[in-house]
């Protein structure tokens, strides 16, 4: 198997007259933890959503493990079954959202069990077993039968992480997952991300949380105006930013 999990070429995406992604290129190796930083609203979220094709790129390629999914996404599959290849892709790519997006009418364990049962065709017992395992890994063993409304933000986010991980994805996407949390709850969630990064998960993490970017990622991308302005190893980027915009952004952060 090749070592390149994800290759993004010349990605363009516009929303109406707003040209959000402008010819972005990216390669992610297996086991890499890539942090994406940059000013708000300049394309970081959109990039993630183009990777798992929640958004349809206007131009460019999104190549996951050797297959370009952009033309596949363009094909409108049969209405009821959706686009089977795209759904396959999504079993290999997990995503955790800023707003958790847990299903409120299901308990924590049911939230995690849903996809294995419905998409992977697992039996209820097997799905439950695996889900309980994942929930234990994120430290929520005693909250498995709770509904999201009874959980704190940090706990909900950890359930969201478990829900993505239970599918055993080959690539994980994190979309500013600590941004909607109260400060004291951020720690527990960041710890999970660190655990995953240390465990060798291939991940792309859009974050404001500079501590994670600096200490737990293998590579950092600074994105502004829809393209990568600078990328490099954490220490290099933080201590010796080459581009003026990077310097400006980091200076801004540090005061």
């Amino acid at each position: 198997m090749s070592d390149v999990v994800l290759e993004v070429n010349n990605l363009h995406k516009s929303f109406g007259s707003l040209h959000v992604l402008r010819g972005l290129n990216l390669t992610v190796q297996r086991g890499e933890a890539v942090a994406v930083i940059g000013p708000s609203g300049k394309g970081k979220s959109t990039l993630l959503r183009c990777i798992n094709l929640l958004e349809q790129p206007d131009e460019g390629q999104v190549i996951f493990e050797g297959t370009d999914y952009v033309p596949i996404a363009r094909r409108r599959g049969l209405r009821l079954r959706g686009n089977p290849q795209l759904r396959q892709l999504r079993t290999h790519i997990g995503i955790v959202f800023q707003q958790f997006n847990l299903f409120p009418h299901k308990t924590a364990v049911e939230n995690v069990m849903l996809a294995p049962m419905r998409v992977l065709g697992m039996s209820k017992d097997e799905a439950r077993e695996r889900s309980l395992e994942q929930l234990e890994h994120v430290g929520l063993k005693d909250k498995v039968d709770n509904h999201p409304q009874t959980l704190s933000g940090g706990q909900q986010q950890r359930v969201a992480i478990a829900r993505a991980l239970v599918m055993e994805p080959r690539l994980m996407l994190f979309d500013e997952i600590t941004a909607a949390l109260d400060p004291e709850l951020v720690g527990e969630v960041v710890r999970e991300m660190q655990r995953l990064a240390e465990g060798g998960m291939t991940m792309v993490v859009v974050t404001h949380h500079m501590s994670f970017a600096r200490h737990s990622s293998d590579r950092i991308l600074f994105i502004d105006d829809g393209d990568i302005v600078e990328e490099g190893e954490p220490d290099t980027l933080f201590n010796n930013p080459k581009e003026p915009r990077t310097q400006e952004f980091l200076a801004h952060l540090l005061n």
Binding site: Q88, R90, V119
Partner: protein, 218 residues
Amino acid sequence: MLEFQLETVVASGPRIMTALALTIYISTVSMLSGLAVGLVVSLLRRSGFQPFRLLAVTYISIFRGLPLIAFLIWLYFGVTVAFNIQLSPITAGIVVMTIQSSAYLAEIYRSGMEAIPHTQRQAAVALGLSPVRVFTDVQFPQAVRIVLPAIGNEYIGLVKGSALVSVLGVAELMRTSQQLVQFYQLPFEFFTTAAVLYVAVGVGLGHLFRILEKRIRY
């Protein structure tokens, strides 16, 4: 001056109760069928296929704009006569009430679906669920919880509306009351009784649905 001949009313008790049972029967059957048909209509309305959508929207517009009594009369005295169809009054009543409530319920389902944040759909899609599953496992369960009160209201509306089926000659509560009034010449007593019974059923259903809502609450 205002006397209430309770004894006469009580004497007709069994007959009134039978009529009430018929009222509840008609309303309930119409409600259940309406729930099913309404679901189909609302699915058509969400369809990507233009003609289906157009059909559904037309259906909803027409049957929400047609007064129940007009619909009943049209079907039972117009259509059956013209096209020589044999239809029992009860069946006609149930058919009409089913169709009308299905139109209202379709709109109710729609408002429920629209109240769900679209991020829920995204999360489900991101997990790889097919469109069918996104609907059955994520959207529909949440929509039902949201619109349960409105559904309860519709049910109560059907009970009240069933009074109109009397126009077709069905011996439900309203018609029976009318017959009793004619016989005993006691409009106040029997119409008041009818009104009280309808209100009672409505209150009862209201309580039932509130309990249902509490139980479905997470």
